[in-house]
Amino acid sequence: MIVIPKGYEKAKPGAMPDAKIVAEMSKYNESLQKAGVLLSMEGLHPPSMGARVSFSGGKPRVIDGPFTEAKEVIGGFWIIQVKSKEEAVEWARRAPMPDGQLIEIRRVQEFEDFPEDVQKAASNEPALRERLAKQGKKG
């Protein structure tokens, strides 16, 4: 299950979260780890420091941040191993999120979830992931 906090759209470039919020979040992350459910997590810099590549009319178009129309922007993710969506929801409910933000919960796709033709079309994907994992070993 992947858990994605959103509501990050207004952060200024280089904006860093408040130490108090970080302390609470660290405590929460620790509780996930201590419960044996946390597999992986990352935090992201604000979108104002990023860029977007949009595709329309067959041409990619680059827009640098900040984005005026941005809504519900991803702030990072946790990957947790749980038995059910309800359990993921229960963990998300415990997150110390600032007012106005939201957390989205999605199940990570497994190869076996695909129908056969899609599995065939994606047949190089697992090998790709394997190479990626090997290259990213240091992290």
């Binding site: 597999l39 191993q81 749980v82 359990e87 929801v89 394997e130 994992a133």
Partner: protein, 423 residues
């Protein structure tokens, strides 16, 4: 438990909170059996109230408070006149009203560790330890445990009742063992966790080749233990072993549920996040120093496979060396059998066959299906097909797992003279 939406939520809350609640109550009441019963009563109360009232904001604290109130009632009204119970009752009334959350946060790690050691106490049989651990620490219901071990629900209920009674009668203290005791007690804990994992990973009976939910439970418990006892190399070793083995769960079965053996698995379908976690845990175990323990050695062997992009890249000589270490640490015909497989891969099937034949008469291996199955593999590689077929058939007659029987009979049939089985 019913599968309505509020019940599924309560299930989820229970899975997250139950071990902490039982552990906290066990410290207060100094009685694991009573703690479990009080926690169950709190769960029943939640099942009655929450579907109507909604899940409270802090469900863990709600359950804890409900259980604690029942504990107080128990001590007040049970006419327990002896000094010990009066004292506990007084302590509870004085000590646990103000800030449940803070009390939970501070002590919960120690309480959980105490609970793990108590549930896995050597005074209990291995079966009882496993059932009690799943009940107390993984929050599984009795019927779930019964399904996991393919025995009837009353059998598991009995086993748990008896285990709780045994703990009470033996006056097992609710504590983390210290000093010389710790190593032996820890190995009892690790044994139970790995037993649960293996019951999921290679189901000894039944129609499923695996029951992955049990693997998840064991893995989660192992990770919790690694957080609670971070200086114990074998805990990290066991976690490493389980993470790496669990990484293969999806690759171990074919489309119709048939088992796929390690060398035939599509390695691209291994879960590489779990592989990385396993390798990291192995590194932690190795860094803590000292001679490598049995779980760490097995994890190191699993890591050799995990690191090999294709079966042909497997470092079999290193695996043989690791098995040498394992055979010294825990001499057993099973380890010898595995070592023989590694030797045959590193140095040829003839060498492997000689090793297997040397241990074939071991009483432990009598009736063990992997002995003829391994022998069959060696014979097949040596071109002795008739003998190989006989051994595959013998192996099939020795296992109770229907998926495995099928695999072995298929392999035997493929060697039938003048017959080629098209798959």
């Amino acid at each position: 438990m019913a599968a309505s939406a509020p019940h599924r939520t309560i299930d989820a809350v229970w899975r997250i909170e139950s071990a902490k609640i039982v552990a906290g109550l066990a410290r207060m009441t100094r009685d694991v059996g009573l703690a479990e019963e009080l926690a169950q009563e709190a769960l029943v109360a939640a099942l009655e109230k929450w579907p109507a009232s909604g899940v409270p904001d802090n469900p863990g604290a709600w359950l804890m408070a409900a259980a604690k109130n029942r504990a107080l009632d128990h001590f007040r009204h049970a006419k327990l006149v002896d000094a010990k119970h009066q004292e506990i009752g007084r302590e509870m009334e004085e000590g646990f009203t103000p800030d449940l959350d803070a009390a939970l946060d501070d002590d919960i790690g120690d309480d959980l560790l105490r609970l793990i050691f108590t549930a896995c106490h050597p005074v209990l049989s291995t079966e009882a330890r496993a059932a009690l651990t799943l009940k107390l620490l993984c929050g599984l219901a009795t019927d779930e445990i019964a399904r996991a071990f393919l025995v009837s629900e009353p059998t598991i209920a009995q086993r748990i009742v008896r285990a709780k009674r045994t703990l009470a009668e033996a006056r097992v203290p609710f504590e983390v063992p210290r000093g010389a005791d710790l190593a032996a007690r820890l190995s009892s804990v690790l044994e139970v966790i790995y037993l649960v994992f293996n019951e999921g990973y290679s189901a000894t009976a039944g129609d499923d080749w695996m029951r992955p939910a049990l693997c998840d439970d064991a893995l989660r418990l192992g990770r919790i233990l690694a957080g609670l006892a971070p200086d114990e190399p074998e805990v990290h070793g066991l976690v490493a072993l389980m993470e790496i083995q669990a990484s293969r769960l999806h690759a171990r079965t074919g489309p119709s549920g048939e088992p796929i053996l390690l060398m035939d698995q599509d390695r691209a379908r291994w879960d590489h996040l779990l592989v990385q976690r396993g390798l990291a845990a192995l590194e932690r175990a190795e860094k803590l120093g000292g001679a490598l323990g049995a779980y760490t050695l097995q994890a190191a062997i699993a890591a050799c496979h995990a690191r090999a992009p294709t079966p042909a890249d497997t470092d079999w000589k290193r695996i043989v060396a690791l098995y040498d270490g394992l055979a010294q640490l825990m001499p057993s015909p099973i380890v010898e059998l595995n070592r023989a497989v590694a030797v045959s891969m590193a140095y040829g099937p003839e060498e492997g066959l000689a090793l297997v034949d040397a241990i074939a008469a071991e009483p432990v291996l009598r009736g063990y299906h992997l002995l003829p199955s391994v022998r069959a593999d060696f014979l097949l590689k040596l071109g002795r097909l008739d003998e190989a077929r006989g051994e595959f058939e013998r192996a099939a007659s020795l296992t109770r797992n229907t998926r495995e029987i099928r695999l072995l009979l298929d392999r035997a049939a493929a060697l039938h003279p003048g017959l080629r089985v098209v798959k």
